[in-house]
């Protein structure tokens, strides 16, 4: 009954690589296993092609950045001509472009993303070093802002037009428009240094104080995590809130809700069991898009709070340009988005049986 009242699923993710909007089902009503498998295979193939495209693009994309990595790295300090030549030879920059490309592809296919110019370490090591830090920050924030966005979005829609809704969406929109670095600095000044009667409660930056182990270390990291997470949640929850709110508003006129109420269901139940599940599809799309983005880090917030994550690493890579590092990071970032979108595609049929039939 609920499924029949569901509108066609939103195609919010269609713009992202590897995702095509789920097509509305036609033909026989019963879902056939073979059709679903075909759907899955199609999505997986699409993802694989996208990954390959990313691999190739990342090589050429970053070679468009102006600048000579060797000149940048040796800038401002004494170097001899021999040293410059040695750098170029070591980085393979003396080879013709096509040869650099074949080397890159050959290595990438064996899982070797090359060696960072500036850090003289395998790119994969640098990524593995910073990835957990980024995931801790963005992951925590993701869970919180998604939950907050859905809860507040649902409330807002259910009581749309009232003062509460207006305050709620107003605040969310305001915070959504606030530049994250500015909010971060403000939080540092107020909650970290302390202003007037407000004491400095949190560390100014970094991920740890250093020299702590075990539980004390975990608490220390949690303590450092508070302000950056609060900043991220504040600027991000608005998006989820607004999407959830508008999707639910679309549902609110639905006949099936009147039916549910006519059956004698409590308002709360009508909302939770009938309206929200049907309105959630656009939010699910957004959740997966956000999930894909969590890997890319949040460069501004990472910078303001000196969080040692992937965003900062990417920025450092770009300024050189440290080609292997930025290529590797770009590949990882893009892959995360592709994987998450594919996952979303594969999960849609669970939310809306018409998809993938």
């Amino acid at each position: 009954m609920t499924a029949e009242a569901t509108p066609a699923p939103a195609e919010g993710a269609a713009a992202d690589p590897g995702t095509s909007g789920p097509a509305a089902g036609r033909g026989p009503r019963a879902r056939s296993g073979a059709a679903y498998l075909r759907y899955v295979a199609g999505k997986l193939a699409g993802a694989a092609v996208s990954l390959l495209a990313v691999l190739v693009t990342s090589f050429f994309l970053f070679r468009l950045i102006p600048g000579d990595p060797v000149k940048f790295m040796t800038g401002g300090r004494p170097v001899s001509a021999q040293q410059l030549a040695a750098y170029r030879r070591e980085f393979g920059l003396d080879l013709p472009m096509w040869q650099q490309f074949t080397h890159y592809c050959g290595k990438a296919l064996t899982g070797d993303l090359g060696t960072s110019y500036q850090f003289r370490a395998p790119v994969i090591d640098k990524i593995i070093e910073a990835l957990p830090n980024t995931l801790l920050l963005t992951g925590t924030a993701f869970v919180l802002y998604t939950a907050l966005g859905i809860v507040l979005g649902t409330r807002s829609a259910w009581r749309h037009g009232r003062l509460g809704d207006r305050l709620n969406t107003g605040l969310a929109l305001t915070l959504y428009s606030v530049p994250s670095f500015w909010l971060g600095l403000l939080l540092i000044i107020v909650l970290s240094v302390g202003v007037g009667p407000i004491p400095g409660l949190f560390p100014t930056g970094g991920m740890e104080s250093g020299g702590k182990e075990g539980f004390a270390y975990a608490v220390d990291v949690a303590h450092h995590l508070v302000l950056p997470v609060v900043t991220l949640v504040a600027v991000e929850y608005g998006q989820t809130l607004l999407v959830t709110r508008s999707a639910l508003l679309d549902e609110m006129g639905g006949d099936y809700l009147t039916t549910a109420r006519a059956k004698g269901l409590r308002d709360d139940l009508v909302r939770r069991r009938h309206a929200v599940p049907n309105a959630l599809l656009p939010t699910v799309t957004l959740i997966f898009v956000n999930l894909g983005r969590t890997v890319a880090g949040v460069i501004l917030v990472e910078t303001v709070f000196s969080w040692p994550g992937l965003g900062g690493l990417f920025y450092q890579g770009l300024s050189v340009p440290d080609l292997p590092l930025v290529q590797g990071l770009f590949f990882v970032f893009a892959s995360a988005v592709i994987v998450m979108n594919t996952l979303a595609d594969l999960l849609y049929p669970l939310f809306d049986p018409r998809v993938g039939r």
Binding site: G67, G76, P78, P203, G206, V226, E302, P308
Partner: protein, 624 residues
């Protein structure tokens, strides 16, 4: 459905919800409190930065630059090389007063009469931190490695290109034979590493020296821990031959945002903030007069100049690039500089945090500092500038615009760094000042200026270098030998200057072992460079930094009187820093503040919960 029924159920809803909401609020408050509570245990933040867990005196320095490598054979960045200065002793060091060369690992040195053999006496009272004696063999091995292994030559290979042979005939004697005379032999800024540790390394181009701690060294500090972009931790080397540092630990902590670093200083999380390269005038102003904070301003190592494209060329004689031909006329170059009001640049752009530019080498190095005589000086004089341009044949047309030999109005492209606010601000002034002369200016502000720069596709450019106590390198980048071999290559040249007189002076100073005569030659080179008008030094930016006086009682600046602290030539600042007997008066107030904060937080949360519940009850009844 009866409304009564609806209401009846509706009431249980809010009650349930209220409990849930309260529980959530409670949990949130708990998490907040947990996050707050533990770090408070080791006392207030002020005390925490200065005093470690076991009453250790810790000096914490806020830094932003990432470590590129902890291997002295690979590291090139200022932060990494500064850390290496602390970990490993070099052959020589520079006096904090006036930067003249003083003994370090070498106690004395002597060139042979033919100027080709240098004998260094290595001190016998320096030990590696694992207890082994430092000998001349360590130094010989380090230098030989750089001469024979390309990977080991990555960072400092330029120091050994002129070496023919390096030997250690005895544990206290290091002998270096040169291919040709080299006056910079007392300025070999190369960390000497322990042979018994480093001979186990296979591939010097990949070994980053950051896996096992502590790292064996013989400098004033021993590196004990490092986490990329989090911290670099060092402890004092109690057996350092010059005497142990007064602080027990030195920690470089990362603050990627300079405003956040200033906030951390204000809070007491760090003892020192350098700024990269300096605190902004606004930051300095905001810290001035703050309790327990001292803003330190000293002469910097940099010069800030306007470079002119002399017509890019390669060593093989090929010309390339598209520098404006009018700039080949010295009168035009001089006129342009005479229309630049350096005083306004210092006052308005640097807001007083710089010194007016004169010669090529900053006054921080008095031995080599040179300034033009009154008759030679290209002082600010727009009228004379206009005259010079008239003389050179670039007269104004009916519109008041000066016209080039090709009949087109003069317009110069000025290359500027988009990341440097000073470039942009000075560029605006240039537009105004040169505009009054009848010359147009196009500012090309780019994130990365190297491409047009190396291709010689600019007319003028903002330029700047950090100068070392031995000025050889910054002088060498204006010699013909530094030009690229062919237009396709990259040379060490700064902006394609190639002048015979300058080159002759350069060769002479490099072979002159008498310090006084060498300084005289260097000053002649600066004079020549000044007259040529291809490098016009506008300012010497100051180093602006700040530290907490309740954590650092005293610290050596360089030069000793009114000098800088971060990025010195040597380890003087951190080695000499004396910890303050920090009064713990702030403890109680901070703890009270924290308690107030927690209570306030809980009250706010509880208030929100009540508000929510009340609203919810009200609206539940409104619905339907």
């Amino acid at each position: 459905m009866s409304t009564h029924d609806q209401h009846g159920r509706g009431r249980t809803g809010p009650r349930l919800r209220r409990t849930r909401l309260l529980a959530t609020a409670g949990a949130a408050a708990l998490v907040l409190t947990a996050g707050l509570a533990t770090p408070l245990a080791p006392a207030a933040p002020q005390a925490r930065a200065a005093e470690g867990a076991q009453g250790k005196k810790v000096l914490t320095v806020a830094v932003a630059q990432s470590v590129d490598s902890l291997s002295p054979f690979l590291a090139g960045r200022l932060l990494s090389t500064s850390v290496h200065r602390l970990m490993y002793e070099y052959l020589t060091n520079y006096d904090p007063k006036d930067a003249h060369v003083v003994p370090a690992l070498a106690t004395e040195w002597e060139p042979s009469p033919d100027k080709l053999t240098w004998t260094f006496t290595i001190r016998s009272d320096s030990k590696w931190s694992d207890g082994q004696q430092t000998t001349a063999e360590d130094a010989a091995w380090t230098l030989n490695k750089m001469m024979t292994d390309e990977g080991a030559a990555t960072a400092n290979g330029n120091f050994v290109t002129n070496f023919a042979e390096v030997t250690a005939p005895s544990p206290t004697q290091l002998v270096i034979r040169l291919k040709k005379p080299q006056a910079t032999m007392t300025a070999l800024d190369v960390p000497i590493v322990p042979k018994h540790i480093w001979e186990k390394v296979d591939d010097f181009s990949k070994f980053n020296n950051d896996k096992s701690f502590p790292i064996v060294g013989n400098g004033p500090f021993v590196l004990t821990d490092y986490k990329p972009d989090s911290y670099v931790r060092l402890k004092s080397n109690k057996s350092f031959w010059r005497g142990a540092p007064k602080f027990d630990e030195l920690v470089f902590r990362y603050y990627k945002d300079q405003d956040a670093a200033v906030a951390a200083l204000r809070k007491g999380e760090v003892s020192f903030v350098a700024g990269s390269p300096a605190l902004t005038p606004a930051q300095a102003a905001s810290l001035k007069g703050e309790k327990d904070i001292r803003v330190n301003e000293g002469p910097g190592r940099r010069f800030y100049a306007l470079a002119t494209n002399p017509g890019a060329q390669a060593r093989n004689g090929e010309k390339f690039g598209d520098g404006h031909p009018s700039l080949l006329d010295q009168r035009v170059r001089n006129a342009l500089f005479m229309a630049v009001d350096r005083k306004t640049i210092i006052d308005k752009v640097f807001q007083g945090h710089a010194v007016e530019g004169q010669g090529y080498i900053p006054p921080r190095y008095p031995t080599y500092f040179w300034k033009p005589s009154a008759s030679q000086e290209l002082a600010y004089d727009p009228e004379k500038a206009a005259e010079l341009l008239d003389q050179a044949g670039y007269r104004a047309n009916a519109d008041g615009r000066r016209v080039g030999k090709d009949g087109k109005p003069l317009n110069y492209r000025v290359l500027c760094h988009a990341t440097d606010p000073n470039d942009k601000a000075v560029g605006k002034y240039l537009k105004e000042w040169w505009g009054k002369l009848g010359i147009g200016v196009t500012l090309d502000c780019l994130d990365n200026v190297t491409d047009p720069w190396l291709a010689g596709k600019y007319d003028l450019a903002f330029d700047g270098w950090s100068v070392n106590p031995d000025p050889d390198y910054v002088l060498s980048i204006h010699t013909c030998a530094a030009l690229p071999a062919t237009p396709k290559d990259t040379g060490a040249t700064d902006n394609f200057i190639c002048d015979k007189t300058y080159d002759e002076l350069y060769a002479k100073q490099l072979a002159e072992y008498d310090p006084v005569q060498r300084a005289d030659l260097v000053q002649q080179m600066e004079s020549r460079l000044y007259d040529l008008g291809y490098m016009n030094v506008m300012a010497y930016p100051n180093a602006v930094e700040a530290y907490r006086t309740d954590q650092i009682e005293s610290i050596t600046t360089m030069p000793a009187e009114a000098g800088n602290i971060y990025g010195q030539d040597g380890y003087w600042s951190w080695w000499s820093a004396v910890p303050a007997n920090s009064g713990d008066s702030s403890d109680s107030s901070t703890s009270t503040g924290v308690v107030i904060g927690i209570v306030a937080g809980v009250v706010v949360l509880a208030g929100l919960a009540v508000l929510f519940t009340v609203r919810r009850r009200a609206t539940a009844e409104d619905r339907e």
